[in-house]
């Protein structure tokens, strides 16, 4: 089943022709980019295959007068673990929404494995697994019911859905809540993140786009999450996460982009962006910081 899906996606890619490498890309991933489920090189034939799992070109979104995303260019090489960092309101979620087909861009384009998300959404969405931040789910289903619904809605065979749902619930430690009949609407924030991740993984996507996946997740679950994500990239999948926890991005990602006020301020491998310092120092230097003055809050502490 997953094989059929990825074959479909690849043939769609082949049909559409393959997009050349953009000049703006900082570096090409040094490592080879294997495909989960089989080699892809043959499919691409003699074309210069797009090496990017996700490629944003001049992507722009305005809300009235406010420019939320200001023509960003980003290329995420296949097989990379990519961290998108930025302060609150930088445009991370807006950019990722446009990349995943949730928000129509005002300009520019988003390619997922060479497929234009807004021209051929069906083919692009087969490759994508998405965990949005702060959106509703079918709140009145239990986690298990949600995964069952989701898998079958995605045309997966019932047996596969049942096995994967049970395994995901077990590994993500949501089994007890399921036994108690806890509804998704009653889940804690961390549990919501976990069940959201399970929906993103269920159909074996090749590109995972995760908006704040670690938010409110306890340290033990975070370890499990990291192990899952590492296994996903080891199998050749690509992950993009957004976060404002610098240490987390530093420990996980091999590539980083810093965005603020809708623009990309830095983009490249982790070491290129850090330039010998910590990511946080570099981030604060680029974004700017407001200091706490000597006389501010002098009364604090009694």
């Amino acid at each position: 089943m997953p094989d059929r899906r990825s074959r479909n996606a690849r043939s769609a890619e082949a049909r559409r022709g393959v997009v050349g490498q953009p000049g703006g890309m900082t570096t090409t991933s040094a490592r080879p980019a294997p495909e989960p489920g089989g080699p892809a090189a043959e499919d691409s034939g003699g074309h210069a295959a797009s090496e990017s799992a996700l490629e944003l070109t001049g992507l722009r979104r305005t809300f009235g007068d406010k420019v939320a995303v200001d023509g960003i260019d980003l290329a995420v090489p296949r097989g990379s673990f990519f961290g998108l960092v930025g302060p609150n309101g930088a445009g991370k979620t807006t950019a990722l929404s446009m990349a995943t087909g949730l928000l129509r861009p005002s300009g520019g384009r988003a390619l997922v494995h060479g497929i234009n998300v807004w021209r051929d959404p069906v083919a692009a969405k087969r490759v994508l697994g998405v965990l949005p931040d702060g959106l509703a789910l079918p709140e009145r289903l239990t986690g298990g019911e949600l995964l069952t619904y989701w898998g079958r809605f995605r045309r997966m065979p019932a047996g596969v859905v049942a096995d994967r749902a049970a395994e995901l619930m077990r590994i993500l430690e949501l089994e007890e809540a399921e036994e108690l009949g806890t509804l998704v609407g009653e889940y804690s924030t961390g549990m919501r993140k976990k069940i959201g991740l399970a929906t993103a993984l269920l159909h074996t996507p090749r590109l995972l786009v995760l908006d704040e996946p670690y938010e409110a997740v306890d340290p033990v679950s975070a370890r499990v999450l990291t192990a899952i994500l590492r296994r996903f990239t080891a199998a050749g999948g690509t992950i993009i996460i957004s976060s404002h926890v610098m240490s987390l991005v530093e420990s996980l990602c091999d590539r980083v982009a810093i965005i603020a006020a809708g623009s990309v301020l830095a983009d490249g491998t982790l070491d290129e962006v850090r330039g010998g310092r910590t990511l946080e120092d570099r981030f604060v230097e680029l974004v700017g910081a407001s200091e706490l003055g000597e006389e501010d809050l002098a009364w604090i502490g009694g």
């Binding site: 065979p157 749902a165 009949g181």
Partner: protein, 569 residues
């Protein structure tokens, strides 16, 4: 402390919608006037006794359940004070006292003082009993209202709360469609009641047992010179009020225990994921999800149940009237009609959860979603429609209505699922996102326009069945009844298919726009010029509902700014 809580409460009341408050005062004032007028116009002392005991019992019931029906911003919720350094009894007393300071409580007191009319007419000296009697009854009733509220939990928290709210909505709709029937019955019977009161001694004795009647009884005893008996009754009221207050205060203070709820039996994830009797197709998945949402989401439960109660109440009204009892057989058909209105916000109910549809868009996924939602509506409503129909056909003995119902219910239900889905998709009205919803009305914007369009579409879609019904009634022949049923069923499937098809065609291209309207309150589309024909009509409905939502939002923003400006001045 108590004063501080009262002033906090008055401040919150000032922030409630002025229109609603005015309407509440006007209705409450009118009911007080009616109570006093009835007491003054009674034919004799016995009739006045009947009127007062019945009237005060109604006031008692109204006071007890009123706050559940309209838990407004005037309520101080115990949760607000959890973190304050304050002892529980002090807070409980403050919260209870604050309940007595409100317009609604004042209205209740004004009505209860109608007992004074009785006293003055019997023997003015009995007024000395009537006033304390009214005040004690008032203390009892207001405390009782908090007790009931506390026991039922917040109106939305429990199944009982959902049902009460649904009955209220049902009454409202039934009143709009058929309210004249009970009014007519009442007009026919009121003069007799005012003149003579209850002629049935058992009813009168039963009413006397209610504590709301004790003040009236005490007044009568005092008028007869039995002051001891009067004091005894007042004492009984005081003891009862004290007992209710003692039971209420612990419920008013914040509970330190976490609310633990468990749904049904324990189950395993494997069972959930594997089982189920629906086909393991995308459409089957949507149906399973939708049926669960309809039976578990408080807001959707209110949508279903208020439709059901509308039908049941109109049926009951019709049964009460001698000329119209045949109409009662169509109670189930009225519910079917309400389906089109109840379900015309299904996408808005999902809120931003629609992202799941967007990111999983696939060939046929939109079709599965629309068809699955239609079947979900059918599976949710049809059993209730059938049950109510059977009961009311039997009660009204109108067997002639059976073939009409067998044709009209499937026809109208099919049309309703189709019309509701078009309106829900093209005119999506999101309201507050599911996670932030507190009350049932959080989920809807102004959907008057949606309801009109849904009703128009339904009526147009069932024209063939309507024509057959006319033929069957005007020129009955042996073949018209079976033909009617066949036409009705075919009409239902046809309407559901065709209207669903329109929705699928629309959403196939505009699924991201549906999400945009929910998430961002606007549509981001730069392409296509004006379209014509059906597509043009859809575009018109889309843009006018969107404009309506945006205008409502802008208006609210303006009001907020105006209020802020006022506060600054």
């Amino acid at each position: 402390m108590d004063r501080w809580l009262i002033s906090l409460k008055l401040t919150m009341l000032r922030h409630s919608t002025p229109g609603m408050r005015m309407a509440g005062w006007a209705i409450g004032g009118a009911l007080v006037v009616v109570t006093w007028a009835a007491a003054l116009n009674a034919g004799n002392d016995a009739a006045r006794h009947s009127i007062l005991t019945l009237g005060l019992l109604l006031w008692g019931v109204g006071t007890a359940i009123g706050p559940v029906l309209m838990s407004g911003s005037g309520t101080l919720r115990p949760g607000y004070f959890t973190l304050l350094p304050m002892s529980r009894p002090v807070l409980g007393r403050g919260l209870l006292v604050s309940v007595y300071v409100s317009v609604a409580a004042g209205v209740v007191l004004a009505a209860l003082l109608a007992t004074g009319v009785h006293a003055v007419l019997l023997s003015p000296a009995a007024l000395a009993v009537a006033v304390p009697g009214a005040v004690l009854t008032w203390i009892l009733l207001v405390a009782l209202s908090r007790l009931v509220y506390g026991l039922l939990g917040a109106a939305m928290g429990s199944r009982a709360g959902v049902e009460i709210a649904s009955i209220q909505f049902g009454l409202m709709f039934a009143g709009m469609f058929a309210g004249w029937i009970p009014v007519q019955v009442a007009i026919e019977r009121t003069p007799d009641f005012l003149a003579t009161g209850f002629t049935d001694a058992a009813v009168a004795r039963g009413l006397d047992l209610s504590p709301t009647s004790w003040a009236v009884l005490a007044v009568e005893r005092a008028a007869r010179g039995d002051w001891g008996g009067a004091l005894l009754l007042l004492g009984g009221l005081a003891v009862l009020a004290a007992a209710v207050i003692a039971a209420t205060i612990p419920l008013l203070v914040p509970s330190a225990e976490p609310a633990r709820r468990r749904r049904g039996r324990r189950r395993s994830a494997r069972l959930v994921a594997g089982g189920g009797w629906l086909p393991a197709t995308p459409t089957g998945a949507v149906v399973a999800k939708e049926v669960r949402q309809w039976s578990r989401d408080a807001w959707r439960m209110i949508e279903t149940q208020s439709g059901v109660w509308t039908g049941v109440l109109i049926g009951a009204f019709a049964l009460a009237s001698e000329d119209l009892d045949g109409v009662a057989a169509f109670a189930g058909l009225i519910i079917t009609f309400m389906v089109g209105i109840s379900a015309c916000t299904v996408y808005g109910q999902d809120g931003t959860a629609v992202w799941l549809d967007v990111v999983s868009q696939d060939a046929g996924s939109v079709r599965a979603d629309v068809r699955g939602r239609q079947w979900g509506v059918v599976l949710t409503f049809l059993p209730k429609i059938l049950l109510v129909s059977v009961v009311f056909v039997l009660l009204s003995q109108a067997m002639w209505a059976v073939p009409i119902l067998l044709a009209a219910i499937p026809a109208l239900l099919g049309a309703a699922t189709g019309a509701a889905l078009i309106v829900a998709a093209v005119g999506v009205s999101p309201g507050v996102d599911p996670r932030q919803r507190v009350g049932p009305n959080d989920a809807v914007g102004n959907i008057t326009f949606h309801v009109w369009i849904a009703m128009l579409l339904m009526q147009a879609a069932v024209l063939p069945t309507g024509a057959m019904v006319l033929l069957h009634l005007l020129a009955p022949a042996p073949w018209t009844a079976p033909a009617l049923v066949v036409v009705g069923i075919a009409n239902g499937f046809g309407a559901a298919w065709a209207l669903g098809r329109v929705t699928i065609g629309y959403l196939d291209k505009r699924l991201p726009d549906l999400y945009s309207r929910i998430r961002y309150g606007q549509v981001f589309r730069t392409d296509d010029g004006a379209r014509t024909g059906w597509a043009g009509a859809l575009d018109w409905f889309e843009s006018s509902t969107l404009k309506g939502e945006q205008q409502a939002k802008a208006l609210k923003q303006k009001q907020r700014e105006a209020q802020r400006a006022k506060v600054k001045v």
